[in-house]
Subunit: 638 residues, 2 copies
Amino acid sequence: MTDLTTALRTVLDGRWASVKDEARAELDVARFGPPDRELGTEAYRARVAEQVHLLARTGHPARGFSIEVGGSGDLGGSVTAFEMLGHADLSLMVKAGVHWGLFGGAVANLGTARHHATYLPGIIDASLPGCFAMTETGHGSDVQALGTTATYDPQTDEIVVHTPDLRSRKDYIGGAARDGRMAAVFAQLVSGGRFHGVHCVLVPIRDEAGNAMPGVTIGDCGAKAGLPGVDNGRLSFHQVRVPRANLLNRYGDLDGQGRYSSPIDNPTRRFFTMLGTLVRGRISVAGGAGAATRTALTLAVTYAGHRRQFAPPGAAQEVLLLDYRTHQRRLLPAVATTYALQLAQNELVGLMHDVQSSGEAADEHGQRELEARAAGVKAVATGHATATIQACREACGGAGYLAVNRLPALKADSDVFTTFEGDNTVLLQLVAKGLLTDYRTTFGDLDTLGTVRFGARQLAGAVIERTAARGLVQRLVATAPGRDSEKGPGDRGWQLALFEDRERHLLETLALRLRKAGRSEPDAFAVFNDAQDHVVTLARAHVERLVLEAFVAAIASCEDQAAASLLGSVCDLYALSTIESAKGWYLEHGRITPARSKQVTAAVNDLCAALRPHAQDLVDAFGIPRAWLGTELLEEPA
Amino acid sequence: MTDLTTALRTVLDGRWASVKDEARAELDVARFGPPDRELGTEAYRARVAEQVHLLARTGHPARGFSIEVGGSGDLGGSVTAFEMLGHADLSLMVKAGVHWGLFGGAVANLGTARHHATYLPGIIDASLPGCFAMTETGHGSDVQALGTTATYDPQTDEIVVHTPDLRSRKDYIGGAARDGRMAAVFAQLVSGGRFHGVHCVLVPIRDEAGNAMPGVTIGDCGAKAGLPGVDNGRLSFHQVRVPRANLLNRYGDLDGQGRYSSPIDNPTRRFFTMLGTLVRGRISVAGGAGAATRTALTLAVTYAGHRRQFAPPGAAQEVLLLDYRTHQRRLLPAVATTYALQLAQNELVGLMHDVQSSGEAADEHGQRELEARAAGVKAVATGHATATIQACREACGGAGYLAVNRLPALKADSDVFTTFEGDNTVLLQLVAKGLLTDYRTTFGDLDTLGTVRFGARQLAGAVIERTAARGLVQRLVATAPGRDSEKGPGDRGWQLALFEDRERHLLETLALRLRKAGRSEPDAFAVFNDAQDHVVTLARAHVERLVLEAFVAAIASCEDQAAASLLGSVCDLYALSTIESAKGWYLEHGRITPARSKQVTAAVNDLCAALRPHAQDLVDAFGIPRAWLGTELLEEPA
């Protein structure tokens, strides 16, 4: 690596750089890379299951659990290590994420001391392979409406877990089809004929010999678009009895008479508090999406740097793909956005670490902010991954279609990231709802559709709140040139002001619109639904602003001048290509003039050309070990 | 089917409706559908090879060959039948397309009577499985620069086919890895030390027993993102000798002394004439992309019509996905564009049939127009397929990720359509170059990059030329309301005028820009490259306009009033969602006011809501037999 790429990598690696370096050294492709795809599903699953055991021995997974329960208590490091697995094999990343992150996370965060003592040692060393059985065939996004029941039977002091119908079958459950021995089953808790809402119960699903437990029917989801190493399956329960102690009882408990108690009275708030503790899954998926995106871009940019096609008239040599403007446009703004998202991800991981490491005393505001940020970054990062990996595949032509060149697996494996750990469209609505949070007291319950008829107060100011770069951003915005200024689109304050202004306007007009419609339209669903595209646009604008601010903060903290200068251009490209893609909105709302809009397009072209000589440096700085990139795309054929 | 869906289907089916109906009846899924994906690559390939033989017996493939050579001479019917295969299994469609369309097409169109008599019977009945060996590892888009040589040896009256280096290896060749017995090899023809440009030579690659012929090295491309039933491979030739008679000599011949002759003097014109005869491949890919898109939309719309999630406050029942505005926005504009593209495809197939059925006397203008249209529709239809199938996968959530629900295969199989038969970015540049055709005499050769320094004449008028609906379109445009008229975005003349105006302006400014830059900038490549994004935007705008006009023509010819009225709304949605996605351009260029721009967005939302009750009818009208759609997505789980 050159000094420049090392300096860039330092910025990209962020606070958990040492974990990333460990992963680069330890996760050798021979042990942790994907097998030959011709191996078949069953062999692939077996290999990944073995890799999970190998991984347990590296000590990375133990980071995700606190020292008191046998872990090493480095939450940020844990999520970072998982992110790095995304460079090795996404099947392994997801399989590990399901076992340690979701199953282990449920036991750690929803359980209490007795569960920790009984189960966490076997979870940490992977001797008790687990599943996270939340999603059902009929319910994925609306988890509050799950159909599985967990009914307390005071006669035997047991909980009876039951699947009433096909829609309530647990579906897509990672680990269910082959390896899982125990499942964290989310179900409607019932005692004495009363429903207490969704809670989580530990249910053994296989015995030591691997046979399904009595009353448990296990199905196999079969072949999927990708993630062939993950054994997704289906679980149905026929009156399956487990001891009362199997209820993960941190947020809701039953006594021996079936009396229910909870530290949180409001059932909806309780439910979302429980879900909120599981936020690391979303952050990990965003991280994995970033890893897959960086791998794809490294392959496509490297290929475009040696692949030639068409000689200009009279020229002896053909032109490199990366010298074509359309090719630069396909790849370089995506590189810039990938930088921006990596820096936002780093900030998010830091926020998670700080909020969740503070233990029980985590302030509610911090937790809410964390959840909203995780939802937003997850949605935007996974959407970016899908679009970018697709673009990379196409940019490599027929070569990009061959499995040996990895792009097909990157695309297929990451494709479901836009769906699992929260469908992106649903998550963006959550983000927007978070922005309307100050109005919440007038919304009533936190349900998705009832958020209308709220008060009159303008809240735009409240939105633009703390990010790491707030002070710096305020100074830059304060000196931003006006609408008709001579200053070009390269002014950072102007870019920031434009992002902020868009978010503020979208929020203000959304609030007004919902309030106005709420007055005349009695159907709350219709009101919210009419505005749904506005809601999603607001959420995107919000995340784009946060991501830009993370970029600005990272540049400010970069001590290497050459790297900081290059990062400045990359940040310009992120900001201006984002503005360009929303130029219809900016023009419609008189935020930019037509002349300025054309300047933005010209500036994006100029930035692509200016960054082109640094393109290889920019992807090298992702720091993906060469061995992990072993494909035919890296080298020019002789 | 209801009367309405039948009437819609009649419009969509177009001129070759009877061929589509035959295919619906004959291509039963048991025989022609995909096998279980767990079958493994080799078994899949074997099954598809067998299906090719079954297909030969249906008589559909014979349509593609003229009666004189043993076919049934229905070119339009041939392409239509291939399009319908896209509903069954895209592996089979591509495998069949390679054998009959590309290999058979090369022999029929580039060969002469002796080749027809010797080879076409075995091609038509599939007893001589063939490959189309054009693309090389180092050259895909720039086929004129292929490295394989075909050198005449007057001593033996043979042609020596040779692969000089790895970059000149034939790559991605369908049929090469397993089944192909003969390849149509594109190579630089050399005789007496002189290069005559790229020609096609028939080279046996396997003997009857399936062993590689002496001097032929056959490789396997291995697993791909999709199309597992197609045996793509690599071919290298080491001084492989074939008789001189194996040169397909319609456009370039050698006599026994190695003297070269051709009916076309200009080598570049000769080359593009040869390529031009193969235009059916592109048209077939556009058709197959349409079939895959329609299947995906039928699945996603049907699913969204029974899948529920989230109950509004106080409501007993959850909301259907298709009642959510964001969900309507994901699927319904895509349905409208799919309608539009089907109608444009029908027009294209008709044009191809008429131009190519006229035999040798085909006028050059008609042929040029056909090639440009095929390139443009192929690029736009395959890009639309990639985006839409992705959206459908996501719209079906986790269920969309399961192989049993077909969306993964539709996505993976069709993904390469944006690349093969011409990379879309390259094709769009071809389209734009076609639009600058009146300036061509000043361009010099037809090479891709030398299109600068052309004359001064404005040519915009020349672009807006014949489509089926020209008279009608002119009348509608003439009565279009002005920029600030009270008439809403629903006015068809206004929509048409906006599409036309955009195309004209993009072309005028591109011509001016290239001319101006050409004066001051001596580097022709730099000039063209700087404008490359403008070039591609122009091409898209041109195709969008053609597609809209095809839609307008189809509505005008629809005799069923209810269907015509519904098609009018679908056409509005196509037109307005297209305008909406380019609203930045329209605003930037003062073509619409900000207020009008917002009206367009509102109109798209309103149209989605208005079409929502007809969504199932609209996809049912695609006429895909229920058996071909057998997935878990069609029925609500009990």
